[in-house]
């Protein structure tokens, strides 16, 4: 995510998800690797400590056995179990039944030397079973100095390792993103160059058509001029979309208090010829006039995309209704609608679900972008073959 942001790449949702999944998987894997190594290190340190204590325990075990031997021989006279300061011991018979214990010691035979509940245990099996003791268990408290030292070392090493792994991950991410970034940059550069070249001829056509006095023309020529007007406006619209797309992030907003109804009226008039060509009726329902502080060019772009989509994906003799209320603007059409599973993907860049009409699939992506900038909410309700309703609320 960080890499995509720093490179100024507008990644699609699916790409972001892939990046997120990769990052999560990488971090998880790093944690697993670090955990395994940490456990191995902890285990080795524990073994080292146990080996250090082993000789001490063995020495005391030897003394204890000598005392047990003495007790065994003189059991008719002496019955005091031998005790060693700082050590506890227990003796068990061959059926693992406790004969005597100086503390709560349980017999475990999985290892002869082990650490359990902060106590170190040594299990000794003597050759002769004095007092019937087949298993002699000796225990001592673990001072846990090694544990504190190991924990400290692990925290330091793990932090360094994790930062290093993150750095490697970042480099890997950059490597993986490079082809994607190159492809997107290539496309953006191509669009930028194309739109730049389109700018002058499109402006010339639109301006000159607007300058023609249609009242002086005969009906046949008027129709032809109208068709040129529609075509030029469509190109102009695409041009503006592409310009916004390539320069969108760099366009400085010039926010002002806008009378929504007036802007809507202006844009409806602009699209009137396009709607007429498809025999689509454009209507405005003003429930309550409202104002919004927003950049006029951006709000017009937002409206243009919604209206042109509503016309483009409409039926012949269909309707487009624009409802203005206090906190929302609704563009409702009687068009072909969208499949429910595609609604969530509509705002993705280059997403197209109808191949019968032209377009780049960038219209709603721009709408979404502008709405995000001005914290406007977008809700799309659509029913196949019944129509689509786009609600922009604030």
């Amino acid at each position: 995510m960080l890499a995509s942001k720093s490179w100024d790449i507008d990644l699609a949702q699916s790409e972001k998800q892939t990046l997120f999944r990769f990052s999560s998987l990488y971090i998880l894997l790093s944690i697993v690797i670090i955990s395994v190594f940490s456990y191995m290190y902890y285990d080795s340190q524990k073994e080292l400590m146990l080996q250090e204590k082993k000789s001490l325990l063995q020495e005391h075990s030897k003394t204890l056995l000598q005392d047990l031997k003495y007790l065994h021989i003189n059991f008719d006279k002496e019955r005091t179990y031998p005790r060693v300061p700082n050590f506890n011991s227990a003796i068990f018979d061959s059926d693992k039944k406790l004969i005597f214990s100086t503390s709560d010691i349980k017999l475990r035979l999985h290892k002869i030397l082990y650490l359990e509940n902060s106590k170190i245990y040594l299990v000794n099996i003597p050759e002769s079973y004095y007092l019937g003791a087949k298993y002699v268990v000796l225990s001592m408290s673990d001072d846990e100095v090694w544990l504190k030292k190991t924990k400290k070392e692990l925290i330091i090493f793990n932090s360094i390792a994790f930062v290093f792994m993150l750095f490697i991950g970042y480099i890997l991410l950059r490597l993986f993103l490079k082809p994607m970034r190159d492809a997107i940059h290539l496309l953006d550069r191509f669009i930028k160059d194309t739109t730049h070249e389109l700018n002058t001829p499109v402006s010339t056509i639109v301006t000159n058509i607007e300058m023609i006095d249609t009242s002086l023309l005969d009906e046949k020529l008027k129709k032809k001029i109208n068709r040129i007007d529609i075509g030029a406006k469509t190109i102009s619209n695409i041009y503006q979309d592409l310009t916004y797309l390539t320069l969108g992030n760099k366009i400085v907003s010039n926010d002002e208090k806008l009378d929504i109804y007036h802007v809507v009226l202006e844009r409806v008039e602009y699209f009137n010829s396009l709607a007429l060509a498809k025999k689509v009726t454009l209507s405005i329902t003003l429930l309550q006039n409202t104002t919004l502080v927003i950049d006029k060019a951006k709000f017009s772009k937002l409206l243009d995309n919604l209206i042109s989509n509503a016309i483009k994906y409409n039926k012949i003799k269909g309707t487009v209704e624009i409802i203005i209320s206090k906190n929302s603007i609704i563009v409702k059409d009687s068009g072909i609608g969208i499949e429910p599973q595609n609604i969530s993907k509509m705002q993705e860049r280059y997403a197209r679900f109808n191949k019968s009409s032209g377009g780049f699939g960038i219209g709603l992506s721009i709408v979404s972008h502008i709405a995000k900038e001005y914290k406007l909410n977008i809700k799309i309700d659509s029913k196949e073959n019944q129509g689509t309703e786009v609600i922009i609320s604030w």
């Binding site: 065994h72 059991f75 005091t80 018979d93 061959s94 059926d95 039944k97 004969i99 079973y129 003791a133």
Partner: protein, 110 residues
Amino acid sequence: MVKTLIFLTLFSSILFSSTIYEKNCVSCHKKLPVSIDKYFYRYLLKYSSEKDTKKAIYLYLKKPTKEKSVMAEAFISRFGVKPKTTLHDNELKKAINSYWRKYKVFGKLQ
């Protein structure tokens, strides 16, 4: 009443076992220079658990051999291997139980 009966039964059983042990074991061992408890600790040294010790004593008494004896070779050479027991299995087991109870280590260490 029931408790008293159970207690009396157990008590009489222990007393009876003890009598078998005293009559058939202690009486002969008294004549030997090594006291009877020393044999017990010899068994304990070799067999450790109650089950294994009792089993070893039983097997030895049923068919005493030099190999099965826990005593030192010099002791066997001097006093020989004891004759086979004439006690019934049941009586023998009772006598061994008494022997175990008398010299066991469990509960005696301080």
